[in-house]
């Protein structure tokens, strides 16, 4: 006989209660893990998108809010507010290596919204290192044709030679991009002048992505651009920070809600163990008569509680990871994530996993303290009086 064996037998005595209490812990932990995982995956995806933007600076109209800044990354529709004349000015600023304009519009294709991005074909090809999976790229800077991202092509079963209608204007699809793993997969690209004329926003673009010649000069270049043109300039790092702060707030809030669930589960443990102490009073008396110390009783109940934390934690992490993969796409279904090429892949690193277990175990042990104290406090005679 030893302590773990005694505790194990006690744990499994009331199978129903054991399962329900454990279920509470597991579900609480699972929700926590799911949201944590999704949050981390989202975070990673955002970083990747910012990186794939390939720009050091993003030139936007003045007064954009964070949501519009996010749209730069997602390819959402944006107001057309920067005149082409500004684009030329920016290109002339010393220290600017490339300045590439984007015009983000949206069209309905077979009743599904599809981003239409007006671009400079060759500049884009150089900046994004695009490769074609099928067909060809634009021959001309104003060729009235469409190159579609791989996910769009797949979703609508498109291939070169098919037609794409934008605002009543029929454009031929000439190429399909190779998968990039970014938002480019879910957009369709048309030379900038063509989009401008279809949407009747001649001479206007949504934003300009700028690469600088010398990274150390980013701030100086940013200032110079703002002197030359009436625009706002945000660095990729600022962009990342502001997006992460929004998404971070949301995921922190979700995790806080999940943490409440974990806390409730901890109270479930307290409840179950207090009931057990009450039910086993007579046995506690017998144990003391046979020679158990108070410390042993305390340890036994604490260990019982700890096992709830251990099993609940393991189960919770497993269910939570599963949940993140299965439900992640629905849970994160919002304007931002929907426009990511794919749902963020849930990600959980070892350290976070360890912390999660520590949380589960720590809470369970804390939950066990009071019941264990109550058990250890019983005097043998008190305990024995209840048959």
């Amino acid at each position: 006989m030893n302590l773990p064996k005694l505790v194990w037998r006690n744990l499994l005595r009331r199978k129903g209660r054991f399962i329900f209490t454990l279920g509470g812990v597991a579900i609480g932990m699972a929700a926590f893990v799911t949201l944590l995982t999704i949050g981390q995956g989202l975070n990673r995806e955002i970083r990747r998108q910012v990186q794939d933007l390939g720009a050091n600076l993003v030139v936007t109209p003045k007064g954009w809010c964070a949501y519009e800044q996010i749209s730069v990354l997602t390819g959402e529709q944006l107001p057309e507010a920067i005149p082409m004349s500004d684009v030329d000015k920016i290109r002339g600023v010393p220290g600017v290596k490339t300045a590439v304009p984007y015009l983000n519009e949206k069209t309905a294709f077979r009743n599904r919204p599809v981003p239409i991005i007006g671009v400079w074909p060759e500049a884009m090809r150089a900046l994004q290192k695009w490769e074609l999976a099928e067909g060809r790229f634009f021959n001309d800077v104003a060729e009235p044709a469409v190159v579609v991202g791989s996910a769009i092509a797949k979703q609508f079963q498109l291939k070169p030679g098919d037609e794409f209608t934008v605002r009543g204007k029929v454009l031929p699809i000439i190429g399909v991009l190779r998968e990039t793993g970014t938002k480019d997969d879910i957009a369709s690209f048309v030379p900038l002048p063509v989009v401008q004329s279809i949407y009747e926003v001649q001479g206007k673009v949504s934003f300009v992505a700028v690469q600088v010649e010398d990274l150390r000069q980013v701030d100086a270049v940013s200032l110079r651009i703002q002197e030359k043109a009436n625009v706002a300039v945000v660095s990729d790092k600022q962009l990342l920070a502001s997006i992460l702060s929004i998404v971070g707030t949301v995921s922190t809030a979700m995790q806080a809600v999940a943490a409440v669930g974990v806390l409730a589960a901890a109270f479930g443990i307290v409840n179950t163990l207090l009931t057990a102490v009450y039910e086993r009073r007579r046995e506690i008396g017998i144990l003391q008569a046979v020679g158990s110390t108070r410390q042993t009783l305390f340890a036994a109940f604490l260990l019982e509680s700890g096992l709830y934390g251990l099993f609940g934690g393991v189960l919770g992490v497993l269910i939570g990871l599963l949940g993140a993969y299965v439900f992640g796409p629905y849970l994160t279904d919002n304007a931002f994530t929907a426009s990511l090429r794919q749902s963020p892949v849930p990600s959980l690193d070892g350290a976070t996993l360890l912390w999660t277990f520590a949380l589960s175990e720590g809470l369970a042990l804390v939950a066990g303290l009071y019941p264990a104290y109550r058990a250890a406090k019983l005097t043998p005679v008190e305990a024995m009086r209840y048959a």
Binding site: M1, I286, V290, T379, M384, A387
Partner: protein
């Protein structure tokens, strides 16, 4: 004069406080000789169990002293007292002696664990003990699958696990039919023959007759003390 194993000196026990207080024991003096078999009798509610519990270090007297060998039980801290209960004292109660979720064998192993035995030694000894009370074949049954008499025998085996100085029993036959009672008394008789000190509370005169000495407790006092053959 045989040497006293237990000396109860002027023990009082008062439950509750103030107006609600009631004395369960008032000035009890009692010596139990090593190797003797003592029965405690008396009307219900007059302090028999209280006396037994105080003798066994399960409860502390309000005043007075209890000596077990050269130890003064009321001076021991909780941990020492627990160890004394584990090693020097064996308890058997009227009912619900065994932990219901452990097998007969494990119930005995439990006592050996508290007595400080390693679990492999414990198991071997537990099997021997079960065998000595004639229940080797029931080792892996839970108490619920045993008869009342069998449960009491397991309880006795468990009480003996750590070779205690003394066996303290509170109405051990109170719950048994006459056959089981006879079996248990036979077992106690052989323990007595082997020199074990036994103190048992009983309401049954016929059971008390098996002891060498009968003490009557009334109103928290020792009223009559009779040695067999007196």
């Amino acid at each position: 004069m045989p040497e006293a194993l237990i000396r109860v000196e002027n023990v009082t026990k008062v439950y509750g406080s103030g107006a609600a207080s009631a004395a369960a024991l008032s000035g009890v003096c009692l010596q139990v000789e090593r190797g003797s078999w003592l029965a405690i009798m008396g009307p219900s509610g007059h302090g028999k169990s209280t006396l037994l519990q105080i003798m066994g270090g399960l409860d502390r007297p309000t005043s007075g002293q209890v000596h077990l060998d050269d130890m003064e039980l009321s001076n021991l801290g909780p941990a020492k007292l627990a160890r004394t209960r584990a090693r020097a004292i064996g308890f058997v109660f009227q009912f619900f002696n065994l932990l219901p979720h452990l097998t007969a064998l494990e119930n005995i192993e439990l006592a050996l664990w508290f007595g400080g035995k390693r679990s492999d030694e414990g198991r071997a000894r537990a099997i021997t003990l079960l065998d000595s009370v004639g229940l080797a074949d029931k080792a892996h049954l839970p108490p619920g699958a045993l008869s009342g008499g069998q449960q009491q025998r397991v309880a006795v085996a468990r009480a003996l696990a750590n070779e205690p100085e003394i066996l303290l029993m509170d109405e051990p036959t109170g719950n048994l039919d006459s056959t089981s009672e006879a079996d248990l008394l036979k077992l106690l008789g052989s323990l007595h023959e082997h020199g074990r000190t036994i103190v048992m509370v009983t309401h049954n005169l016929a059971v008390a007759e098996h002891a060498q000495r009968v003490v009557h407790v009334k109103d928290g006092r020792i009223e009559r003390d009779r040695f067999s053959g007196d």
